[in-house]
Amino acid sequence: MTFINYASREINCKIVYYGPGLCGKTTNLQHIFDATAPQAKGKLISLATETDRTLFFDFMPLELGTVRGFKTRFHLYTVPGQVFYDASRKLILKGVDGVVFVADSQEERMDANIESLYNLEENLQTQGYDLMKIPYVLQLNKRDLPNILPVVDLKTELQRKGEPVVEAVASTGSGVFDTLKAVAKQVLTELRKG
């Protein structure tokens, strides 16, 4: 839920990165963190297992700049991708303003993408949201790997509503900021509507 503080002249919005296990959600946040000037970001909090798999969520606050005299802050969250952490995923979607679905482009991960996308739709519904109406971007990650599906096939299976589709290699940062920009733009445009 967007929070607008007129006293401190700040807008805070919440964006959640969703997707199957090992698709690169945390890597997206890690790249944003590494590539952002220290004064524009807070800490990157990772609640992960000992083997670096996300256990609960990753979180980083990011200040993008000023719009009409208001500082715009985005709170970026990832969910744990592994199937059995569904209860955690539901909790993290509470109060979400925009969602990025990070799809793994590898052929053998297609079923996992589809399952995770259904799971996203279901969990959004549980929280009272409709995927068809919420600011949303589809990122096709891992475009540098050899065994990937063509973009057109991934779009056929995964694109839901004509949402922006961004090709990415999160490990090098390619497409990461384009994805963030695409979702942030939709969130701020929603604010214009009121």
């Binding site: 607008i4 609960f56 993290i92 109060g95 919420i134 733009k185 969130v187 445009t189 009121g194």
Partner: protein, 157 residues
Amino acid sequence: MADTPILLREQQYHEIKAVLARLRMEAEARIVFLVDKDGQQIAAQGDVGNLDTTSLASLVAGNVAATSGMAQLIGEKEFPTLSHEGDKESIHIAVIGRLLLVVVFDERSSLGLVKLRSKQIARQLSSLFDEILRADFDDMDSPFAEITDADIDSLFS
């Protein structure tokens, strides 16, 4: 459709800060802050110093969400308070509707005192926040109604 934004006007912000300041004094706490259940910090009062209150707010909300999930699994609606006691610093969290009142305190205070004072102030905070939620977005002189694509693009330039 995403939720309607929460709008906090200047006067309401200062009223909340005043209530938090009183609680901080009466509970002999180091820091008192108010967070909404989604992890957005609403206001803080006290010796914040270098403390990363944004991250703390997010983790407090995650903590409450996780324990509420546990509560529901055992047939409770939620746990209304959470306390974490450390060697020197401790945290008490009170759930007040969709607000989380967070008190950070050290050995100069006690959990009993913090709990008591937090409970005493809960109703006042709750009614202040109800007023905030009743504000109609359409009636506000929103700075975003006139926002342009160029404004948004400039954030990423």
